[in-house]
């Protein structure tokens, strides 16, 4: 008799199992939809805040828009997978640029040299020989000088901040900046103020 109280009839147990299966399925769907929304929101925020900075840094290494966009994508994926914690927005941006720089440098190692430098073509079409000259001079620099020149002149980072992003000694960064400037000076002559 006790057993009859404790144990529900077969029909009821079946109904419960079907209900639980549906609930679990619905829960997974909701979780998945909410996860997608979260991924979208976080990826869009990163793109809004740092997308152009990451793209430009990647382009400065790879000289190709399609490759640079893939670096942006891979940086975002790395960010979402690792979910790193940051003290502030500057720290977050520096992390993104460090990852993007490393990914871009890895890609240089196995990438075939591409002809399609859209920026070069755009500058030639716009008849901006002055800018073409500067861009080609920067492109001709060794990577270690080029990345320092980009972060210093475009992103406005100090040599200490660049050392942190590139994981090098500050003295090395200062030296590379000097050497890079000097090589540019040798090519661009005295037409520019390098300050």
């Amino acid at each position: 008799m006790d057993g009859a109280v404790l144990r529900a009839p077969l029909a009821l147990r079946l109904r419960r199992r079907i209900y639980m299966a549906f609930s679990a399925f619905a829960g997974r769907s909701e979780g998945r939809a909410s996860g997608e929304a979260d991924v979208n929101a976080r990826a869009e925020r990163l793109l809004d805040q740092y997308g152009n900075s990451i793209l430009r840094l990647a382009y400065s290494y790879l000289h190709n828009r399609s490759d640079a966009e893939e670096i942006v994508q891979d940086t975002l994926i790395r960010f979402l997978q690792e979910a790193p914690a940051f003290n502030d927005a500057n720290h977050e941006k520096a992390w993104c640029l460090r990852v993007a720089g490393n990914l871009a440098k890895n890609r240089i190692k196995y990438n075939a040299v591409r002809d399609a430098d859209e920026l070069s073509e755009e500058l030639v079409e716009a008849q901006r020989e002055d800018l073409s000259f500067v861009w080609e001079a920067v492109k001709a620099l060794p990577v270690k000088y080029r990345e320092v020149i980009h972060l210093f002149y475009h992103e406005g980072y100090s040599t200490a901040e660049i050392a942190d992003i590139l994981q090098r000694k500050e003295a090395t960064v200062r030296s590379d900046l000097s050497r890079g400037r000097e090589q540019l000076k040798a090519v661009l002559k005295e037409a520019y103020d390098f300050g």
Binding site: E44, E69, I77, Q81, A140, H150, H154, R168, V187, Y192
Partner: protein
Amino acid sequence: MTLAENYHEIMNRIELTPEGRARILDGVRQAELAGPARARMIQFPQWKRWAAVAACAAVVLLAAVTLQNQKAATAPNESQGSVQIANPFEDYDTLADAARAVGFELTVPERIDGFSGDKTVQVMSGTTIQIIYSDGSDNRLFIRKAPGSEDISGDYNKYDEIRTAAVNGCDVTLKGSSGAVSTAVWTSGGYSYAVSADVPLRAETMTALIAQIA
């Protein structure tokens, strides 16, 4: 016009387009949904792999034949369309080779304590000899010599401490901070010399090194 202004103007032309942004977000979503380990991993059936290899081989063969046929016709026009800039630094196997290229000699120590890595010999713009001693990692030391009396160190940093020391009868300008020296410049016999180090040297170490350079 400053280099910074021009470089900014160049870089500001690189922007995420709405299409690029959509492609990136789509790629991120796909990779995230596939999971970290399986992101970007696409399994092809075996026959498709072999078909792909065969197709690639055919394309390479066709491209090689086509390029060979077109090479003679296109060669004269290859330099058109973009600005080509040569690297001003040229590597040489030996210091003697570099000396022949510039027309003057440079005497430097064969080895420098603390720099047991590669030693690179370069000529810059056909006028300056540069020797780079490396410690095998990030720490390098540069020695330069060129005709004239200009500062050829290439070090544009501002240092707290600038002083002069007499070495082998030359007045050497030592630049650095906290008692250590990052860069030294001097002139002798119509030539300008420079020594600079990524990691600053003790003043005594620097002057002892300079005494071996001519």
